[in-house]
């Protein structure tokens, strides 16, 4: 337990140092505005990818409707700030809660499905959410929700990302996380161990949806507007691609997947026609040579570094 808190604190310190470093570079204008936008994008997508990883990678429920929950968060939060004039934090929380509620309500019936069936159901769900929004004129309908203030900055994005990472990491390392992994590995055996499989599938789905909602709130307050076309199934696939690239079940993998793919997109922005080709080629090559993703289900953590620097004992003690 104490080792756990210690590594947690160490990771937190690293995270805050990284924050200070990047914020410093941004304030000093060393990072150009275009890349500042991309850094914020990376933070938002890390929230999306790690929350999807909780559903797909850790609990093994194949969901591809993440953009739908993101849309709920984006629009709910925009309603809060634009229509009701509430502060950004309240908007973010409402966005997350609304997405969580919807995730819970939808998770109850659909998580009885498995594999391909669940994937199709969640894909359909994402589209239903988008098309519903498209037809609500209160939030701008097809022309999009205009005039959203730009509240999202690097600080909001990074700190919420850090919170998401810690929340999901601790969830995965808890009894609840163990239960989710057991479900992924073998649902019948998990049930035979006394794991309430429905409860944990719905729980993981709800938490994943909540963070997608939070990311949606950051997303809509970053671009002055929210538009239904931002939340098509292509968006869901983008997030899924990042998770799969990094390795289903690995949080650090998801982070690397996000950074790699956002980086490629950003560099290739000038050549949009070959961007998708490179993207696709990368995935094909990856699936041929590393079908489990860059990291498989492994994590890189500070512990590995401490092991490299002679902390062998801790690794050995863990075996007991």
């Amino acid at each position: 337990m104490r080792i756990q808190t210690k590594t947690d604190l160490a990771s937190l310190a690293c995270g805050l140092t990284l924050y200070a470093l990047l914020e410093g570079l941004i304030l000093a204008d060393i990072i150009p505005p275009y890349w500042q936008l991309n850094v914020i994008r990376v933070c938002i997508y890390i929230i999306l990818a790690t929350s999807l990883n909780l559903i797909n990678g850790i609990t093994g429920q194949f969901s591809i409707g993440h953009a739908g929950f993101m849309a709920i968060g984006a629009y709910m939060s925009a309603i809060m700030t634009v229509k009701l004039g509430l502060p950004f934090l309240v908007a973010i929380l409402t966005g997350g809660l609304a997405a969580a509620l919807l995730g819970f309500l939808i998770g109850l019936p659909t998580l009885r499905l498995s594999g391909d069936y669940l994937a199709i159901a969640t894909l359909g769900l994402g589209e239903i959410i988008r098309i519903t929004i498209l037809n609500i004129s209160y939030v701008g309908g097809a022309s999009g929700f205009m005039g959203i203030p730009k509240y999202t900055n690097f600080t909001w994005a990074f700190l919420l990302m850090l919170f998401t990472l810690f929340f999901i990491k601790n969830f995965v390392n808890s009894t609840h996380g163990r239960a989710c992994i057991a479900i992924r590995e073998n649902e019948i055996a998990a049930e035979a161990m006394g794991v309430n499989t429905t409860k944990y599938k719905v729980l993981a789905f709800t938490i994943g949806a909540a963070f997608a909602g939070v990311a949606g709130a950051l997303f809509s307050h970053n671009f002055y507007m929210a538009h239904p076309t931002s939340f098509t199934f292509m968006q869901s696939f983008d997030i899924l691609t990042m998770v799969v690239l990094g390795g289903l079940g690995s949080m650090t993998g998801s982070i690397v997947g996000v950074i790699a793919l956002t980086g490629i997109s950003a560099y290739m922005a000038d050549y949009p026609e070959i961007r998708m080709i490179i993207y696709a080629l990368l995935l094909i090559v990856l699936m041929l040579f590393r079908p489990q993703g860059l990291f498989g289900s492994k994590e890189i953590s500070l512990r590995i570094f401490s092991r490299l620097t002679g902390g062998e004992r801790r690794g050995a003690a863990q075996g007991n």
Partner: protein, 234 residues
Amino acid sequence: MLKVDTVNVYYGGIHAIKDVSLMVREGEIVTLIGANGAGKSTILRTISGLLNPKTGSVEFEGARLTGVPAQDIVKKGISQVPEGRRIFANLTVLENLELGAYIRSDAKEIREDIQKIYGRFPRLAERRAQLAGTLSGGEQQMLAMGRALMSRPKLLLLDEPSMGLAPLLVKEIFAIIREINAGGTTILLVEQNANMALSIAHQAYVLETGRITLAGTARELADSESVRKAYLGG
């Protein structure tokens, strides 16, 4: 301890279990033998709550189990080793055992129990950090049994522990089953290998196409003409 009373189970329209009644007394090894498709596993799955009977009831220590969800049945002290072992292949041996203790929260005693399991299955201790999927069939069976014991069951349900194992390993597994029983755990054993099952059991039932056709002490059944002909090779 366990009482199954005139239970009927259907798979859709198929009547798989017909008026089955059986009893398991505390401290015994009770075996249920029968050919492929007789409904042995179905009975176990009904007891552990993975299936619901249409009529009839299952009682454990005087309390009704019918309709109780599977995860709560584990908490009442019944643990199942599912057919085909179903270990968590991508987790280590240690993690598999820890998951077996999922319903418990007494970290210190869990650690002691893991050591006990290692004592009973030294092979698992050697391979504690290895991924369970890379174990041999016999080792996986041992792991599945160890994992089931981690919930400290009063009643252990074993579904075909001899399946796919070499004869020598089958002997080893059955010796372990007997040891577990001697340690105070009651056992309900489902087996196709009637010979081995009858050699360690106290009571036995013969199941044919969903119906119990014979019941008695294991010795009586082993000596019975019809059982010898049908299951013991003459």
